[in-house]
Structure formats: C-alpha cells, structure tokens
C-alpha cells in the first residue's frame, strides 16, 4: 500500500515537469556594461531566440543536409557566379541594396544562399528522377507550343495557315500571337484556362488543337503537342517537376525526417511548429 502511494505521488510529481529551454553555458557573462547596468550573454540569447530563430535553424539544418548530400563542385560555383554576374549587370550599383532587402548581409551571404539553392535543386531532381514514373503519371509533363490571340478571327486564320503547312511559329507571328511560341515543358499544375488544359490532355504527338477559347472568352489559343511521352524528354520533365512547390516541400520534409531533425528547446519548438509544422516529427 505504501509503495502504491509512493508510486502515485511520483507520477503526480512528473506532471509538474516543464518544457526544456536550452541555455548558453555562461549566461551571466557580461557583454556590455553602461554605468552599473550590464547586458549578459543569457539576456542576449533570449533576445535572439525571439528574433525568428526557426528560420535560422531551418536554414542552418538545410545547409547541413545539403552539404552531406551534394558536394559543392566547380560546376555549382560557376553557375552561382554566373547568376551573381547577371544580377550585377541588371542592377549595377543597386545590387547591394537589393541583396540587403532580400535579407542578406552582403554578397558573400547571398552567394552562400545561391549555392544552397543549387544543392537543393540537385537533391530534388535526384528524387524526381528516382520516382520518375510515379511523378510523370501524377503531373503529366508535356512539351507544347502555344499561341494566344486577342480575336477568334486571328486564331482561326492562324490555324488555317498552320493546317496548310505554315510552321506554328510563323503562323502565330503572322496573325499577331501575343505570346512567344518556343517549346514549353509544362505539367498539369500550370495555370492555363480550363479548355486549354483539356486540349492538352487530349492531343496526340505532333497534332494541333482546334481554336480554344479562354475562360473569359477574350483570348483564343492554339496548342501544338510536341511530345506527350515524358520518357522522350526526361531531363526537361525532371527539371519542371522538381520546380513544383509540392515536390520541393515534400523533398525538404523527407530530408528532415531522414536526417532525424529534432528540437530540444521549447521556444524554438513552438516557432518551428508554427511556421514549419511538417518538419517536426
């Protein structure tokens, strides 16, 4: 009986346990003193833990994962340098201000973020390649050309010209298509009008659609199916699917699971739960 009562009391004591809050090892160390007021390392730590620590941790963790999965090669560095160069050409002296506005302290921090981005692209594309058959069935990648016209008359004339043998691009240009006619790799997640998506789903390779009206019936489309077999344009299909938000998010979630991401601080846990709930087991 006595043991039973002790057991019950012990169990009740456990309910009084609070969440863990990690703290620095020397919280009373002074960083700065003004007169007789000091600001300690512990106070600084608490301040920083209120400044969006979850974004910082997720970014740090992602970097650890990326470096474990993908080596930073000369090729990646060259791509990143090219990207920065193109920003410099576009923005000139405003580059630093632009970088600061994006939340990066300087060009070096921006470069690190771009490297991480390249690594994540490689990781995501690898995952998509591994599950290519499954993702192809789900997202139905296609290669098409599409021309958009402001009037049905122009669209009808363009289609007639195409059916007589004029190339898609030439006919679209002649009848004032409002968009370019390069070959596009798309998925069923792309935002096209309903009738256009229906046409894309039903076209065979190397065939033209009829003139299709947009949802508002103020735009008119002609679609040419270049290729509806993703196995014939695997690289482009992988690249396109890997850009889909759901794929990017699920890749990151899976990575955090595989790498056993765990949080041992209540404040950080609450922040991550709020903004990145899928990343906590």
């Amino acid at each position: 009986m006595k043991k039973l009562l002790i057991l019950c009391a012990s169990l009740l004591l456990i309910t009084g346990c609070s969440d863990a809050n990690a703290n620095v090892s020397n919280p009373t160390e002074s960083l700065i003193t003004v007169g007789d007021h000091s600001y300690t390392k512990g106070e600084m730590y608490n301040f920083m833990m209120s400044q969006g620590p979850d974004y910082f941790v997720i970014s740090q963790a992602q970097e650890i994962i990326a470096n474990a999965q993908v080596e930073v090669t000369d090729e990646i560095l060259a791509t990143v340098d090219e990207t920065i160069e193109s920003y410099k050409q576009m923005l000139g002296d405003s580059l630093v201000m632009y970088i600061n506005q994006m939340g990066y302290e300087d060009e070096e921090a921006f470069k690190e973020a771009l490297i991480l981005n390249e690594q994540m692209i490689i990781i995501t594309e690898t995952k998509v390649t591994e599950k290519f058959e499954e993702y192809s069935a789900t997202y139905a990648p296609r290669q098409i050309q599409i021309a958009t016209f402001a009037s049905q008359e122009d669209a009808n004339s363009a289609l007639a010209s195409m059916n007589e043998g004029t190339s898609f691009a030439d006919a679209a240009k002649e009848f004032k298509s409002t968009v370019g006619t390069d070959t596009l790799t798309i998925t069923n997640q792309d935002a096209y009008p309903t009738n256009v998506l229906f046409a894309i789903n039903s076209l065979e390779k190397d065939t033209l659609s009829e003139v299709v009206a947009g949802d508002d019936e103020k735009s008119f489309y002609i679609v040419k199916m270049i290729n509806n077999d993703p196995n014939e344009f695997t690289e482009a299909a992988v690249e396109k699917i890997a850009q889909l938000e759901t794929i990017v998010n699920s890749t990151i979630t899976t990575l955090f699971e595989d790498f056993n991401f765990a949080v041992y601080d209540k404040r950080l846990h609450d922040a991550v739960s709020t903004n990145f709930p899928d990343l906590l087991k």
Partner: protein, 328 residues
C-alpha cells in the same frame, strides 16, 4: 493473495481505476512537452544527422546575424533611461497608449491577441505584455532624448539638413482640373477669381480657405505643414516649392491635379522648430538616420561603457556609424 483480492475486490477495482487515471493524466500532460538534451554538459538546441548543435554553438551563429542589433537595443534603452527623467505625464501617456494598443491587438487577433502582442514585444527586447507600458515610457524618453540632443547640437546638425533638404512651411491653393493642359472655362474662371482676390489684398490663407479645392488643407488656410526635398509631392509641385523664399508666392504650377499656387510660409530653424517641432525632428532623422545612434554613443561615453571584447565594440561602432574619433 487471491483471497484478499476476492475479499476487497471493490477497493482493488477503485485503486486500479485511480492508478489508471493518474497514469493517463501523467501521459496526457507530458506527451506534448519538449524534452531537453545535453552533450558534454552543454544544452542542445537541436540535432540533425546525429550532430547535436549546442546552445553555445547556436548562440555564436545567431550572434553573427543579429547580435549587434540586440546590443544596440540595450545600449539605447539604458542610455535614454539614464538621461531622461520619467515624469507622471509620461507614465499617464504610456498607460493610455498601452491600453489603445491592447484594444487594437484584440480587434485584430481576437483571443490570440496576447500571444501576438507578446511576440511583438519580445522582438523589441521586452518579455511580456506587462512590459507594454514600460515600452511606451521608454519610447517617450527616447524621443525626448533625441530632441534634447538635436537642440543642443543644432548648429552642427541643422545646416547640413537645411542645405540638402531645404525644409520649409508651405501653403497652397488648388484649382482642380479634369485636364490641366486644357482647362475648361469654369476652371479658368476659378483661377481668375483666385487671382482677383489676392490682387485685392486678401490674405493668401483666407483665399485658400474660400477657393482651394484641396479641402484637407483649405480648412487650415491652405497649410501643408512642413515639407522638404523628401516629401512625396508630385515632382512639378515639389520643384517649384523648393525654389521659394520665405513669404514668396509662386506663379500657377501645373500638375495632373490642376493648377496650384504655392506660398512659402517660413524657413529657418527658429521659426520651423517653434511651429513644426515634431515634423522638423522627423525630417532631420529621415535625412540622417544616424543622428540617434550618434547621440546614444556620445551619452554612453559620459556614462561610461565597457565591452567584453574589442570585436563587440568594433562591430557596434560600425553598426552605429560611429568613427573611432567620435569615441574620444
């Protein structure tokens, strides 16, 4: 044993149920709690790929990104607190502001207002809603500290601002037009009426009150308050207004709104600081956002400031745009 169980089965049943309830209660209460972890005596913040990131390591990384901002926040609060006396008026004003903010947050966030407000305050270096009034007291003291600093150093601060930004008090009379390039007869008639009233000797403000189509300023006798080169006026209006001397009235200035006649009511620190004190302060701080940190630094030297190491001091000075020479 079995005999005892048979004899006291009801008591045993109650005991088992009670124990089960306690076990479930303990489990339910603890299932969502965040467990801690240590490595070599140091608290672990998070782990990834079996790597434990300790609080010390996390601190070092975060300090690089946000640490100096926190140190500046502390320095600013401590210096202003030591420099400006807390008055009953400040406390009363802070109390009203705090109540108003709480109502705003309640209106915006509903029952979650406390968490949202606490998060906002923590981002400013405070702990909880209980500190909200203290925040407003400190804000008032900070504004007073900066005002006192600028007043004490106006001979060095104001000339640079005046030369670059040309602050002045303006009034205007607007005759709205559908197309100012092709005014209608009715619109031109109003333009003429304004000109005749001014020619007859009527005060600019009175003419603005009677005729101006900018109703917001018309009730203030055409006054637009204090403006400078950073004020967001349409370019034609701004350019014309910055050329005026005190008391001067422009010719009609054409903009997309219509025709404006602009009067420069006052220039110079003495007049502007009397009638447009807050706007002038804001104008100077917008022109030079480092006035405040420079003021904080100067006062901190008087109060005596020491740092844990040279790197913190150097990084803070860079953050505050304080040169080595300013410290001496």
């Amino acid at each position: 044993m079995i005999g005892i169980l048979k004899k006291f089965w009801f008591v045993v049943l109650v005991g088992v149920l009670f124990l089960s309830a306690i076990v479930y209660f303990v489990y339910d209460d603890n299932k969502d709690k965040v467990g801690g972890k240590t490595e070599n005596g140091q608290d672990v913040v998070y782990s990834i790929n079996d790597d434990n990131i300790t609080a010390d390591e996390f601190y070092d990384e975060m300090f690089e990104a946000t640490g100096i901002a926190g140190i500046y926040q502390f320095l600013s609060k401590t210096v202003t607190d030591a420099s400006v006396e807390t008055t009953d008026e400040m406390i009363e004003g802070a109390k009203l502001n705090a109540e108003s903010v709480i109502e705003q947050f309640k209106s915006q966030y509903g029952i979650d207002y406390e968490a949202a407000l606490t998060q906002s305050l923590q981002g400013l270096g405070y702990d909880s809603i209980d500190d909200l009034q203290e925040y407003f007291v400190n804000l008032g003291k900070s504004q007073m500290f900066i005002t006192d600093y600028i007043n004490a150093n106006v001979d060095t601060i104001y000339p640079e601002y005046e030369e670059a930004s040309k602050p002045r008090a303006l009034s205007h009379i607007l005759v709205t037009m559908v197309d100012s390039s092709n005014p209608t007869e009715e619109e031109l008639a109003k333009v003429k009426a304004v000109e005749e009233a001014l020619a007859a000797g009527t005060e600019f403000g009175a003419v603005a009150y009677e005729f101006s189509d900018d109703t917001a300023s018309a009730v203030e006798n055409g006054s637009l308050g204090l403006t400078d080169a950073n004020t967001e006026f349409v370019p034609e209006f701004l350019a014309a207004s910055l050329l005026l001397a005190e008391g001067e009235v422009s010719e009609w200035v054409k903009t997309d709104y219509g025709y404006h006649m602009i009067k420069c009511d006052a220039v110079g620190y003495e007049k502007l600081s009397t009638d447009y004190k807050d706007q002038l302060l804001q104008g100077m701080l917008t022109f030079n956002p480092f006035i405040e940190p420079q003021a904080i630094w100067a006062k901190s030297q008087e109060l005596g400031v020491t740092f844990a190491n040279e790197q913190i001091e150097s990084d803070l000075k860079e953050f505050m745009q304080v040169d080595q020479g300013d410290a001496e």
